[in-house]
């Protein structure tokens, strides 16, 4: 599997580290216990297209949001995760 880093170009999998599902959003401070439990512990086990966080630690050290099909490994989109440097891409 290869990932095309929006900063570096196409690179081998070994340069990246997988973090996990990019979908969960931190609930508001006054959210219910159930919402916090869901955010911290519960993950969907998706067979198909999912949004994931990857870290390009062996390269530019940017966090990326990768849209990948877990059945075929086909990657349909890679974009910078929010943070330093991300503002400029695609601008």
């Amino acid at each position: 599997m290869r990932i095309t880093c929006p900063f570096c170009g196409e690179r081998e999998l070994g340069e990246f580290t997988y973090l996990g599902d990019a979908k969960p959003q931190r609930p508001a401070a006054d959210a219910s216990e159930e919402a916090v439990y869901d955010y911290v512990y519960l993950r969907d086990n998706i067979a198909g297209v999912m949004s994931e966080h990857w870290y390009h630690g062996g390269g530019c050290r940017a966090w990326l949001k990768v849209t990948r099909n877990t059945l075929t490994h086909e990657i349909s989109a890679v974009e910078p995760a929010a943070g330093a440097g991300a503002a400029k891409v695609g601008a």
Partner: protein
Amino acid sequence: MADFSWDVRSPLDRTLVAGPYGVQGDAGVALTEIRNFDLVQVMARRGKASEMAQTAQARFGVAAPETPKAVGASDATLIWSGPDQFFMLSKGGKHSIEALAPVFAGSASLSDQSHARALINVSGEKARTMLAKLSSIDLHPDVFGVGAAAATSMDHTSVTLWRGTDRNGQVVFNLLVFATFAQSLWHTILDSAAEYGVTIGHSEDLA
């Protein structure tokens, strides 16, 4: 009270043996470690990327690289190391971290990497063939021209790689590697290069 004197030594000091290595005859690969340089990592603070770029332009007379490239100024080389960040490589203290800190105050965070990296210069007819064993990126001159740079990994070790100006008609690659990984990568490079014959040396001159 004991007096301490710090003896500044290259991380490859005990490992590098100057002279020929591997197959005898005309060496296909020349490895030169560059010693005693100033290396500063410059990283834009949040929302200050354009301010940092303007400061770099004013200080060095060239635009800081915004894509994986190495840009030569009259007395420094600016090498892309990630989004909104670059390395400043120089010699002689003119652009040391002490000199740059007030210049970039407010726009960028600086980190002195002068003694945290080893700089290895790889040239010779077989330089690219040898590096192809270690790198998964395409170093063919059509894709990786003079001034091209990459933040990548070799032998599971993060490196900053860029192509310098050709010397005697031959391609020159520069490799910055973490000091504590320098010995390990050095041995891997020697293993890869042995079949082409190697000339090993060290130098105080950037180029």
